[in-house]
Structures are given as C-alpha cells and as structure tokens.
C-alpha cells in the first residue's frame, strides 16, 4: 500500500512538472506580446522585458518559472488589471468558485444517491422509471442549458432568486448556479449508485443478512449502501473535474466573480500570464483530487489494496 501511494505521488508530481513544461513552452509560442501598446518605443519595451525577466535564456526562465509557480508567485497580470499580482486576483476569486462548486458537489451527491437508491429498491417500478428519466436528462443536457433555463424561470420570471450573483445575497444568489452545476454530478451518481446497488442487493451476503431477519433501513443503509459506496468514490473525481469545466460557463451566465470567469476574460484579452497561472491551478487541483481519490480508494477497499500491492 505504501509503495502504491508513493508511486502515485511521484507520478502526480511528474505530471505536474510536465504540465509546467507544456505551459512554459506554450507561453513562448503564444502569439502577440503582452506589451502591445503602440506608444512604447523599443527601449521602453526592452526595459519592460527586463523587468519581467523575459530577456533571460529560456532554460533560466523555466527554472525560475517552476520555482515561482510552486511557491504561489504567479507574477503579475499584464492586461486585465495591470500590475496586480495574479495570486491576489485569484485569492479573492478562488473561494467563491470553490464554495459554489462545493455546494454543487454536495447537492449532486446527496440527491444522486437518493435517486439511485430509489431506483434500485423499487427496481423496474414507476419510481425507478422516473429516477432513470431524471438521470438520463441530467447526463445528456449540458449544465449551462440548465443554467439558462433556471435563470430565466426562477430568476427572471418568478424572481425567486437573483439572476446575477451579488456578494450581498451570498446564499440566495448561489442557489441557481449550484443547482445547475450539480445536475450532471447528480445524474451520474444516480446512475452509478443504481447499478452498484442492484449488484450489491443481488449478492450472497445480502441474502444472508435478509435471512437472518434484517429488513428495512438497516438492511439498505448498513449493509447495501456501505458496500455500494466504495466504487462511487472513483466516479466523484472525474465529476469534480467536469464541474470545473461547467463552472466556466455557469460563472459567465450568472456573472459570478470566480476563477472560471477570470479565465474566460483572460483568454479573451490575451492576458497569457493569467491564463497560464489558472491552467496551472486547475491542473494542480485536478491532479490533487485524483491522487486523494486513488489513495483513499486503496485505503477503503482492501481488495484494491491487495491487488494493487501485488502488481507493483
């Protein structure tokens, strides 16, 4: 197990390094200079390049770059908000994105589990059909379509929730974005839970538990769900990543000042330092989540632990 965890950690760090290299190379290839101002003459430009270390040899730049990135010094924004350190830009925006994403994950997981359990217990009944229809629609329809529909009906027509995000009404204005983001997670978890639960419910130890006289919630929650939950952890990681992608669009629709909308603005205004910093943050979060889930999975399920231990 330790060997397996160590191997995963090393691989993750290596992946992060590869990403940094790719980001760095891309930054060199990126068309356009951050100093597009026509008023600048050659000398002023040279001064600016020197100030930001852009006149150094490529290798030196890269080493410096890796060091800076890992210590959280992402440099300054070139054009969005001039000379503001990017870490400062991100510091105010990241918590907003994470809290909305977190709400979406919690909401999606809880509702998804409930739908999945309903589908498995009343297998092939009306309740199952309804749960299946909801989850198929949730998987198939992109989150921003939900976002548009929700913001039109509940924000614009019914005025139950604010259409746009405001810091004053923190909770009520994050309801719609979280709900629209959570749809995909909810639907995937519901489908996965249903098939896992069906498999567990048909297993021998469930038959044993039942013949020992257990029934009702003890049977479902204590014996079935606990075993069905293990594989569900593995799908959570890719789902969280899908949330990151979805958040870009949802943040644009609801005008949320998070890192998703920052990335969109940065792309559109060619502020490549910000784009690359955010790409690094997204990658780091992604790799971190994958690593945690993989190791957690090994800790929870002894079968995986043993199987992977033998292989490595």
């Amino acid at each position: 197990m330790k060997k397996y965890a160590l191997r995963r950690i090393i691989l993750s760090l290596f992946t992060l390094l590869v990403i940094l290299l790719v980001l760095f190379i891309l930054m060199q290839l990126m068309p356009g200079s951050p100093f597009n101002d026509e008023k600048l003459n050659a000398e002023q430009k040279a001064n600016l390049y020197a100030k930001y270390g852009l006149d150094q040899p490529v290798f030196v730049q890269f080493i410096r770059y890796v060091g800076n990135m890992l210590t959280g010094d992402f440099g300054v924004s070139y054009s969005i908000s001039k000379n503001t350190p990017i870490s400062q830009l991100i510091r105010t925006r990241l918590p907003i994105s994470i809290s909305i994403g977190g709400m979406a994950v919690v909401l999606g997981t809880v509702v998804g589990l409930v739908l999945g359990i309903i589908g498995a217990i009343w297998h092939d009944k009306a309740a199952d059909t309804i749960a299946t229809v909801i989850s198929v629609i949730g998987v198939s329809v992109p989150s921003y379509v939900f976002a548009l529909a929700l913001s039109y009906y509940f924000g614009f027509r019914l005025r139950w929730f604010p259409m746009l995000f405001t810091a004053k009404q923190l909770f009520s204005s994050s309801v719609l974005p979280s709900v629209s983001l959570s749809m995909f997670t909810m639907a995937s978890i519901a489908r996965f839970t249903r098939s896992e639960m069906l498999e567990v419910l048909g297993s021998d130890y469930m038959l044993l538990a039942e013949s020992k006289g257990l029934s009702g919630s003890a049977l479902i929650f204590h014996h079935a769900l606990r075993n069905a939950l293990i594989p569900i952890i593995t799908v959570l990681a890719p789902l969280i990543v899908d949330l990151m992608t979805g958040s870009l669009v949802v943040e644009k629709i609801f005008a949320i000042p998070g890192i998703g909308s920052l990335l969109v603005t940065a792309i559109q205004s060619n502020d490549y330092n910000v784009v690359i910093s955010l790409s690094f943050i997204y990658s780091a979060m992604y790799i971190g989540i994958m690593l945690i889930v993989d190791i957690l999975y090994g800790v929870i399920d002894p079968r995986i632990r043993l199987a992977k231990g033998e292989n490595t």
Binding site: I19, V136, V141, P142, L148, R157, L198, E199, V249, I267
Partner: protein, 354 residues
C-alpha cells in the same frame, strides 16, 4: 465398378461398403428445422435486442431526424445562414399554416421590469408575406437556417472527432495491451501523465495558440478524447490475448500486427462502437462549451454553441432566439446517449441489467 469407400472395418479385413449401400433417411420434408432456437448471427441478435429497447429506438429516430434536418434544413428556406437584414431584426417565429391557430403567429410578449405587453412586429412593420419559421435574430438572420447549419457544423465536428479518437485510441490500447511488459509500462505511464492534464486546460491552451475554427476544435478533441477509448481496448486485449484463437493464429505463423488488427479487433468491435457513440455527445458538448466561451467557430459561421451564446445576450427580451439551438442540442445529446446505452446492452449480452 465404383471405388469402395475406405472404412475402418475394411482395414481390419471386414466387409466392403459401396456408396450405394447407404441412403439418406428422412431426406424429404420430414426433417424438422428448429426455428425457435435456431442460431442467429451476432448482428441480427444485437439488432433485435436494440429494437426491443424503446428509448434506444427513440434516440436513433431522433438522431436520424436531426441529421436529415441538418442536411436539408438550411435549403428549405430562401434565407442563407449569414444573410443579414437589419430591417427585419428580432422577429418572433411565424409559420404559414400554424399562424392561424394562434401559435407561431409572430406575436411576442415583451417582459420588462414595468410589466409585459404583446407585440407583433410583422404587423407593425407591414411584413405581410414574410415568414421566419423560428424567428430572426438581432441581425435579421433567419434562425431556422442558422440552427440547422449550426447543427450541421456541430455534427461534423463531433463525428470527425469521434472517428479520429477511435483510430488513435484503439490502436494505442491494442498495441499497449498486446505487447505488454516494457512497452505497456511505458505507454501506460505516458497515458497516465496525459490523463493528468485536465481537458479544459488542453483545449483552452490549444485554441489560444491555433486559430479558432472547425479543424482546431477537432484537433483539440482528438488530443483529449482518445484516452478513454484506449483504456477500454487495452482491457479487452488483455482479456482476449490469452484465448485459444490467438494462440492458434500465432501457431499458424501470423505476425503481431495481423493478430492485433485482424484477429482481436473484430472481436472487440462492440465496446468500440459503444464508446464512439458515447464520445459523440461529449464532443458536441465540448464544442458548444468552447463556442459559448468565445473560442469556437469564427463568425459568420455558426455552431449550436455559438448560436446559444448569441441568443444568451438577448434571452430575457427575446427568449425564442435561444430556444431552437438549445432544444436541438439537448435533443441531440440525449438521443446519442440513448443510442449508446441501447448499443451497449445490445452488443454485450453478458452485461447485467444496468
């Protein structure tokens, strides 16, 4: 004189038999063919299983319908997808026969903060004989034409990306699984690293470097979507390569690549097709997402994503502008998912009920 038939008993010095000695019994219509349990070909059985699932058939019909409209829809009106007419902007949907029923008659309800009122711009602007089936957008372009040509672009991108991913993913997975050992180890480490880079990051960075357009989006999808496919084919290869037919083929002198692509590949075609069908909606979604963020198809060309993005700008005042592309895209993704689900069950009879 006919040659005697060689039999065991002849060798042992027993009786001699001639072909005439034997006659087929029950050779006529007496032979009973068991039609109930007759062996069916794999594809026929798969077709039957697929058709038994109503949702899958519904999905298939919708996919075909949308494809037909995507091909012929833009030609059904006199408008072009890029033709602008600022005198006829923001007209609500109006369809010749249906307008008499009160639906699609060009009326639109404008809702503002002070209340709502019903307006018919066709009457106000005296456009008696003008029909925009899905309405017109802020530049006076016909939304019907644009929706279907957008669907066309989205479908082309999705299918092309899915097919390219299939070729790359299948080859990668099969080769990695077949050779095993060091080759597999290196290829899997590479895959793990590639998989560690979020798709969002790859796609955004790529679109910054290259010019936005259909080819760039296909290329971006190609770089990210092959991983899932290669995982599936590798797993199948690991299962199949120990089987007797592979051993037999190798004993008969078949080379590695013959075994991989001619012996094993036909046997895993089911999971591969299923995965392709699942990757099409992903590709449609990614394209729509990119266009929505502003990294997609350049104007005046349009895709479903860019239409949604345009409609979003005025979706509280003219909601009918965003409805057609949203509905078409949602239906398209839903249908492809349903078809893929049906195919997965049809092509893999061992699969337990999901």
């Amino acid at each position: 004189m006919k040659e005697p038939v060689q039999t065991e008993s002849q060798k042992t010095g027993g009786m001699v038999f001639y072909p005439d000695d034997f006659k087929l019994k029950n050779s006529g219509n007496e032979i009973h063919i068991d039609s109930n349990f007759a062996a069916q070909s794999f594809w026929k059985e798969a077709r039957i299983r697929f058709c038994r699932k109503k949702s899958a058939v519904f999905g298939l019909v919708m996919v075909i319908l949308i494809t037909v409209f995507a091909i012929f829809g833009p030609g059904m009106t006199s408008y072009t997808y890029s033709g602008q007419n600022l005198l006829r902007k923001n007209l609500a949907p109006r369809i010749p026969v249906l307008e008499k029923t009160g639906l699609f008659d060009g009326d639109e309800t404008i809702t503002t903060t002070t209340g709502s009122k019903k307006i018919n711009y066709y009457k106000l602007k005296k456009l008696g004989n003008v029909y925009y089936w899905f309405g017109s957008d802020t530049f006076g372009r016909d939304i019907w034409t644009r929706t279907w040509s957008g669907a066309q672009v989205s479908l082309i991108i999705a299918v092309a990306a899915a097919l390219i991913d299939m070729v790359i993913g299948v080859s990668y997975g099969l080769i990695s699984g077949y050779f095993g050992g060091k080759v597999d180890s290196i290829m899997q480490r590479f895959l793990e690293v590639a998989n560690g880079i979020p798709r969002l990051v790859v796609v955004t960075l790529l679109l910054l470097v290259l010019n936005p357009g259909i080819l760039t989006i296909i290329f971006a999808l190609m770089l990210t979507e092959w991983i899932g496919m290669s995982r599936i084919t590798r797993a199948e290869m690991l299962k199949l390569k120990e089987q007797e037919f592979v051993l037999a083929s190798r004993t008969l002198g078949a080379g590695s690549f013959f075994i991989i692509f001619r012996e094993v590949l036909p046997n895993i075609i089911g999971p591969v097709i299923t995965q392709v069908m699942f990757s099409i909606p992903t590709a449609i979604f990614t394209e729509a997402f990119l266009s929505f963020v502003g990294l997609g198809i350049p104007v005046p060309q349009c895709s479903l994503g860019s239409l949604i993005s345009e409609g979003f700008n005025s979706f509280t005042t003219h909601p009918y502008q965003i409805v057609p592309p949203v509905v078409v895209m949602a239906l398209l993704m839903l249908s492809f998912n349903l078809v893929a689900d049906g195919l997965r069950e049809a092509l893999d009879p061992k699969l337990k009920e999901m």
